[in-house]
Symmetry: C2
Subunit: 358 residues, 2 copies
DNA sequence: TATATTTTCGTGTTCGCACACGTAGAATTT
DNA sequence: AAATTCTACGTGTGCGAACACGAAAATATA
């Protein structure tokens, strides 16, 4: 591994000159520049990222803004864990990550947290743009201040975010359609359950449903899709009543598709006897969802490596900050198909935490 | 982030003393040691891994030994790419990775390459233990020289390897069984094709078949499983003749399971008209296999993130070398279910190569 | 008490890179 | 010809940790 010093010696100049060429900071005559560049190429010099990181004194601040999580709302735990893990790793590179969370059902909370956050004048921001209208306002402010921003998990279009990390919702829904088709006999009815509790990032859910439906139409498969909306998932008794009576009435329903991470809640509303001939497909590997898989209550979960989403975002943003390297604009997460049999091999948040690998 | 210098100032000692305490190298009086330890804990000091890496002069050599790849044999390309990518990253940490490959059909090649490799007295070795007998010999030598070793992709039991990174073959086969069950109507016959060309790491393949069969027996599903062996996959015409005549004769065959990465070769042997009502399931996301998926010739591929296997092994071994950190003994790769619809989102070898992220 | 031996600790250098600062000599202006 | 920029480069310092060397302090031995 050749160093700047070595190059300098070879070119008969000082290290400073080589450095100037490397960062084309000017002040080098054309011929020495050419000579140095040749030597660099010949020995294919690469910076020692370690030394570089050590010597950079600039400290960067990176702020994240995503929904919080609690018992009933576990999805956002994973991205946060990924972010935290990556934060440890990039700290030594002079990047300080600070996390803000908001109530995902309150646009005002989203906006308020942002307003607090922005006071610290961050060098970059990573947000889960849960509400469209408020995101516009936020982005406006960011662009005014010339602060680069990236989107996590939710892929809003029409913004100048430098990066999106998350799943292609349409494709994920399409895969769900295929799995549903595989699980259900022909001519079945399929129930698609939306929960208005998520009117917020409605966009992703409707894309999933669009993909789901398209699978059947594009492949010319005849099914009867029944849409069901619940305004309030908190009132589980009410939900259960409606759901069970519908299932009793429509015996042709063989599949239930829940395009959100809340399938475990739905499962708990359905009477045991009705579950027997039902194939349920949902999203996301939250703990209760995984439990449903393992107890044979859910056939498939579509997952998206949320931990990795958080983890990778931070690393890519760090690269952007310390190397001025613009990332690929969209990083699509895998569309993982989880079953009872493979779910335990899918993710390992914990082991990643034990090993503070490089 | 508190530094050694800071701690030294707080304790009224020099940096050297703090360093001695940190590495308990002795030569520090009990009371100063106690004082320093208290300060370390109070400000919860953590080493700056960057600075540490820079100052460590020890160079470690890490050797890998895995099968080579060519057009007909693509599987081992991915782990190698992962290894190469990780090698770049750990180089700055003073770990030099050198790769040796062998002909996966020649035990002698395996052994010979090892014998060349071992002459360099590596600090650690990562091998894909393709042949059991020869592996015993190799391990013997390694243990005599006190060189730690890890297994990549193939999980041989009864050895003192510090690490295994790869898939649980039994579980992967079990998942394949489930998918086959989903795809085929009840009472079908299912063809399981083994290729003796792989008698070598036969172990993994037989585990996959065991898992596959167990899925049906444990779930009380009646199928008729037909086993077929081909001694020589090179003579494709011969293979095609046998295969096609069997398929023509046994109309009940609705599924074909190939527990190796060679399903694309099998696909190319089957006559188009016979493909129609056939569900094929194979292993590994090699380029030809992916093509088969996309052309609707194969229903599912079970994959195992081979790139990541290589990538992670190197990082874990590096941790082991430079931090004396013994990794978790077995790192199981995900059992990815690939379909036409989700395959493009599954892996991104290339993008990982573009971004030389930290 | 004087000398020898440990124990305990400070100093200085090194790793590779980034960057502020300084300066010799060339080029230009007056 | 003197005074002034400019150009092109060298020097020095710092980042945080590791470690070798050796000095001072503490203890042991005579």
């Amino acid at each position: 591994m050749i160093t700047i010093k070595d190059v300098a010696k070879l070119a008969n100049v000082s290290e400073g000159t080589v450095d100037r060429v490397l960062h084309n900071r000017g002040g080098v005559s054309l011929k020495t520049e050419k000579l140095i560049k040749e030597i660099l190429k010949k020995h294919n010099y690469t910076v020692n990222p370690i030394a570089r990181a050590l010597s950079i004194k600039n400290k960067f601040s990176l702020y994240t803004l995503m929904p919080n999580h609690d018992k009933t709302n576990l999805f956002w735990k994973s991205p946060l864990l990924g972010v935290l893990k990556a934060s440890q790793e990039v700290r030594a590179y002079g990047v300080e990550v600070t996390n803000y969370t908001f109530d995902q059902f309150k646009p005002s909370s989203y906006l308020n947290e942002f307003k607090t956050l922005i006071k610290s004048k961050p060098h970059a921001v990573l947000i889960a743009p849960t509400f469209i209208k408020e995101t516009k306002e936020i982005v406006n402010e960011l662009e005014k201040l010339d602060i680069p921003y990236a989107f996590l998990n939710i892929d809003l279009e029409g913004f100048k975010n430098i990066l999106f990390v998350g799943q292609n919702s349409y494709a994920a829904g399409y895969v769900a359609g295929k799995l549903m088709h595989l699980s259900c006999p022909d001519q079945s009815s399929i129930l698609v359950i939306q929960t208005r509790i998520n009117i917020n990032n409605y966009y992703a859910f409707s894309k999933r449903i669009e993909g789901f439906n398209d699978y059947f139409t594009k492949n010319d498969i005849k099914v009867n899709i029944i849409n069901l909306n619940f305004d309030n998932l908190k009132d589980l008794k009410e939900v259960g009543k409606n759901l069970n009576s519908l299932l009793k009435k429509e015996k042709s329903i063989k599949g239930v598709f829940v395009p959100s991470s809340r399938i475990s809640i739905i499962v708990n509303c359905i009477d045991e006897p009705l579950m027997n001939n039902l194939n349920l497909i949902g999203f996301d590997n939250t703990e209760p969802n995984i439990k449903c898989l393992q107890e044979n209550k859910v056939s498939f979960l579509i997952s998206q490596k949320p931990f990795d989403q958080g983890y990778e975002s931070i690393h890519l943003m760090t690269d952007f900050l310390i190397k001025n390297k613009t990332p690929i604009k969209k990083i699509y997460s895998p569309i993982d198909i989880l079953t009872k049999e493979n779910v335990i091999y899918n993710e390992r948040d914990k082991s990643m935490f034990e090993s503070d690998s490089i």
